[in-house]
Amino acid sequence: MNTASIVRLPRFSTRFVPVWRRNLLVWRKLAIASVLGNIADPLLYMLALGYGIGAMVGKVDGMSYVVFIGTGMVCQSAMFTSSFEGMYSAFSRMHVQRTWEAIINAPIALDDVVLAEWVWCATKAVMSTAAILIVIEALGFGHTWLALWVLPLGFLVGLCFGAFGLVMNSLAPGYDFFTYFFTLVLTPMLLFSGVYFPVNQMPAWLAHVASVLPLKHAIDLARPLMLDRVPDDIGVHVAVIAAYALVAYYAALMLTRRRLLK
């Protein structure tokens, strides 16, 4: 494979749709387990941490701790779901089952496959975001139509972390490789983006570090929306997440071409 055919810009076509649909059809077969996980997990966290720690800390940033953590959880869940999909699930399809190989023998290019996987990661992120919205609604922690904006936000976060996941996928020799991503990316992201506690109470240098994390920008958008407020600096936040998403997607595409088209 020569360099030019690895680095050339993505070629988009609607041929990616049947590949995306294939993933949806597989998901539908396992939907109950998947939705259960999507709902049960955040529910347990919100109940345990929200009430457990909430009893000690009282109000955080002007809201009860369970609401604070619930709004953070929306973004966390989108991040985890799309990262998992881009790593473990995509790796199964690409490497273990050789599904991608079968697909690119049909009139579908590898670019279409990567695009389909990317959009699918984001789709799953929206699903898990929706599940948490339902939990928050059901627990009666406030009701606002503005909160529905976290669904497209979940999609954007899904594109960002899905692309990160696909970068890892394109480099992975095996499933174990993904552990690095948890240690080096997801855990710091989780702890320093303001999911569990406000970023502004950390030392200034740490807050600066946090300000470049995409999840922090997602939370800065999600939290006001869930509390029925229009967020500040929407453009900046969206632009930061989108920039991460696009750069990572392009990197994933190039690396995947390098891996498979040889």
Binding site: R15, P18, L25, V26, R98, A102, I103, N105, A106, K262
Partner: protein, 323 residues
């Protein structure tokens, strides 16, 4: 046979097909990985109704050639025209009319037999109504009619291969490409695949297959090309190749005494003799003198058989191991 004559044979269609353009034309194809050129100026053309076999040891460049033909990798030189489309430029358009059976099974394990065909048809944007009409025929062809709702995970290796073959036919392709279609199958399953392929040839389908099974190439192919180290070293109908390159009769002599016999008697009696381990391969136009002599040597075991493609293959590519 010199290079020009091989190229001539590789590009010349069987007599009846001369008027129609080839389904696949590969011209001076080159592909390099790092310092190693794995395909070195390969040229051939496949015409409608043919079964063309690419035969070669591991690492000869067979799979690389197929991947170039499908437009999955860009060649470093040469041109490819697949079902009338230039590849890799219009590879997607070309693949609409091509079916592929890959070397390793890659059926979708999350779906049933029928769903696999349905989903794969979706990649070709085939309308659902067409697929609903076509899938029962494909299942019938694959001998899987009763298995439509079965999960892939419970199928045997042979069934999976047959389903993979059926999947490659979902778009009613003009050319069917098979990469080592029966590797890893038991004899019964192989024969079923061959029956299927012969049926397709009888219906006028065109097939390109790679294999390192001589019997497979001999049974199926109308023309075969032997490639090694990325170049074509022979190309013709199987019988014609045998007639040109290999003596018609072979006597294999085994056992500890084989070597001594070969040196003292065999060499003078056989037209050509090769020693491999404790076996002497004696090639002759007429094996009678060899057999008569062997009959007087008690304790030497031997087998008399007609020459086959394996003899041709070994003669052309040598006996050393390839990996």
């Amino acid at each position: 046979m010199n290079g020009a004559a091989i190229a001539e044979a590789a590009l010349t269609p069987p007599r009846s097909e001369k008027s129609t353009p080839p389904i696949l034309r590969v011209d001076r194809l080159r592909k390099r990985y790092g310092d190693q050129e794995v395909v070195r100026g390969l040229s051939f053309a496949i015409h409608r109704g043919e079964c063309f076999a690419l035969l070669g040891p591991n690492g000869a460049g067979k799979t690389t050639t197929l991947r170039c033909c499908l437009g999955l990798i860009d060649p470093d030189g040469g041109t490819i025209e697949l079902v009338g489309e230039p590849v890799p430029k219009a590879a997607r358009e070309a693949r609409i009319r091509v079916g592929v059976v890959p070397q390793m099974d890659n059926l979708d394990p999350d779906f049933t037999v029928r769903e696999n065909l349905l989903i794969y048809g979706g990649y070709f944007r085939l309308p659902r109504s067409d697929l609903d009409a076509r899938i029962p025929q494909l299942l019938e062809f694959a001998g899987l009619s009763g298995k439509a709702q079965t999960s892939i995970r419970t199928l045997s290796g042979g069934m999976k291969r047959r389903l993979t073959l059926a999947r490659a036919l979902v778009n009613d392709p003009d050319l069917l490409i098979l990469d080592e279609p029966t590797t890893g199958l038991d004899p019964q399953a192989r024969h079923l695949i061959w029956d299927g392929l012969r049926q397709l040839l009888n219906q006028g389908k065109t097939i390109l297959l790679t294999t390192h099974f001589m019997d497979e190439a001999e049974r199926l192919s109308t023309r075969l090309a032997v490639i090694d180290h990325g170049t074509m070293i022979a190309c013709d109908a199987p019988r014609a190749l045998l007639a040109r390159h290999v003596e018609p009769e072979v006597v294999e002599v085994y056992g500890e005494a084989a070597k001594t016999w070969a040196e003292t008697r065999g060499r003078s009696l056989a037209k050509r003799l090769e020693l491999a381990g404790e076996t002497a391969f004696c090639y002759a136009d007429d094996a009678a003198p060899l057999l008569a002599d062997l009959a007087t040597h008690a304790g030497v075991r031997y087998l008399h058989r007609p020459a086959n493609l394996e003899d041709l293959f070994i003669k052309l590519t040598g006996r050393e191991l390839r990996d």
